[in-house]
Amino acid sequence: MSRPDPRDVEVSVFGPGFGECVLVHLGGGDWMVVDSCVAPDGQPAALSYLKSIGVDPSCVRVILASHFHKDHIAGMERLVSTCSTARFYCSAALSFPDAQALIALYGGDPPRVAGAREFSRVLKVLDDAGRAPNWVNANQAIFRRSPTSDAPACSVTSLSPSPEAVDHAVRVMASKIPTNGEPRRPLVWREPNVNAIALWVRVGALSILLGGDLEESSDAFGWTAVVKSPVREPGRAHVFKIPHHGSQDAHADGVWDEMLVPGPVGVMSSFHNGSHHLPTPAMCRRIRALTSDAYSTQPGDWRPPKAHGLPTAVERTARDAGIQLRERFGKVGHVRARCRTLAGAERSWEVALQHGASRL
């Protein structure tokens, strides 16, 4: 693949490997990474792609963790340490001592929580380098660039989490801090993901909506709160990173009706964990009814391949006991949408698919 022109805006979605990552060329040689996806070789997919097209990691201005589920933060430490000049952003809920206490408790010794462990490493990398995390609330400026001779103006603005969502998350986290003598059990987070960061990206006249994993909840939380916000960025987005791997729990009609152009380019990453495989055929049908221009990093029926190269004794034991063994990390599919931003240029998005990515 070729390096984008400074006048191009480009949105790449990688997944699953292990996780989901969105990489955006904001024009003018400025890049933003949202979340992290680790390829089977252990490398963050965004770094491998940037290297393949000859972009130095110093061109990454923003690294943002939309939330701390392990399939969005695995590899974040490597991203933050490699992109040493980027500013790191994450939810304001994590700035509270309740969150920091949970990270301290579950980020080291067992029972470990993958997200807490990765985040504690990210904090250490930042601290060692004299950098600090930047906490995100809704409607906050993440990045701004004035127009230059070869690139239009750019702005990146957060749409979530709402103050109510932050407060709710902090209360839940406080309730999970263990007490003396309490059994040491793994920390499990089953609450709806209303604390994830969604972003509005504007480059010249083009707009992009990055949905993270933000779910729909109530008027105060989630997508309805975003749609109804009186201070959100105006306009309609041409590209939509479909939230939560296409799940129904992240769907809101208002987003499609009020925040997107008709028939936008919709991109999402597929997901596999245990018995869960997303998107399901029903999700694909729903999204196809909303736009004919929708893509996923792997087909909806994708599964990681069966484990190979195991000793015969293991293969036979697994077969005899009814144990099924698969690779944990599937290949990383890549959907890339690119568009020229010059005034007067026709706004047609070129979509390229790699490594198993497909149209829905």
Binding site: P178, G274, R326
Partner: protein, 204 residues
């Protein structure tokens, strides 16, 4: 040496360091009581088959019996790499061993991520295990995020009989202590102050 799973022959160069607990490949060995203090012996298939002749060129020449369903070439492959298969004091030769973490629990099965701790394979696996593979004392420990070890290998009885075994054991963790929690809260308050946070936290 006692107390640790060790390589088959202490005299083999690079056979592992019981002081550091490191295997020749730099990976951690498991304490032998891990294998000795539980009764989880699932998928055991008693041997009913033949005794193999000694293999020319093999470093270790155990008298072994093999299961009828074990093909001869596979066994020779195992024995020819026998020096890298750690053997516990109770005669268990580990072929593969993983650290597992439960990612989902269903009605009659659970799913887990598996990381090779013997060091032969860098690929992380996902395993789908029937719940009947878990012993009764461990059933209550099976929950999302629970950690366990899974080993597949051969047990060689004093009689020389050899059987293939799958050992699955869930990790037992101590309760939280007030010191741990207080230490975490202190650190959290310090970090929050450093980050410009606006309130402290304490736990009764």
């Amino acid at each position: 040496m006692a107390g640790w799973v060790r390589s088959l022959e202490p005299s083999v160069p690079g056979a592992g360091d019981p002081q550091s607990g490191l295997s020749p490949r730099g990976r951690f060995l498991l304490p032998s009581h891990f294998w000795e203090d539980h009764e989880l012996r699932r998928s055991v298939r008693d041997s009913t088959a033949t005794t193999l002749p000694r293999l020319p060129g093999a470093i270790h020449q155990p008298r072994v019996t093999v299961q009828e369903d074990t093909d001869r070439e596979a066994l020779i492959r195992h024995l020819s790499v026998g020096e890298s298969h750690p053997r516990s004091s109770d005669g268990f030769i580990v072929v593969s061993k993983w650290a597992g973490c439960v990612i989902e629990v269903g009605r009659d099965r659970f799913w887990a991520s598996l990381v090779d701790v013997v060091g032969r394979d860098d690929q992380e696996l996902e395993g789908e295990f029937p719940m009947e593979e878990v012993s009764d004392p461990d059933i209550g420990l099976v929950c999302e995020g629970a950690e366990f070890y899974w080993a597949v290998g051969y047990r060689i009885q004093a009689s020389g009989q050899r059987s293939r075994e799958s050992l699955l054991r869930f990790r037992r963790l101590p309760a939280w202590s007030s010191e741990e929690v207080e230490r975490a809260l202190e650190r959290a308050n310090l970090l929050t102050a450093e980050y410009g946070g606006n309130r402290a936290v304490s736990k009764a």
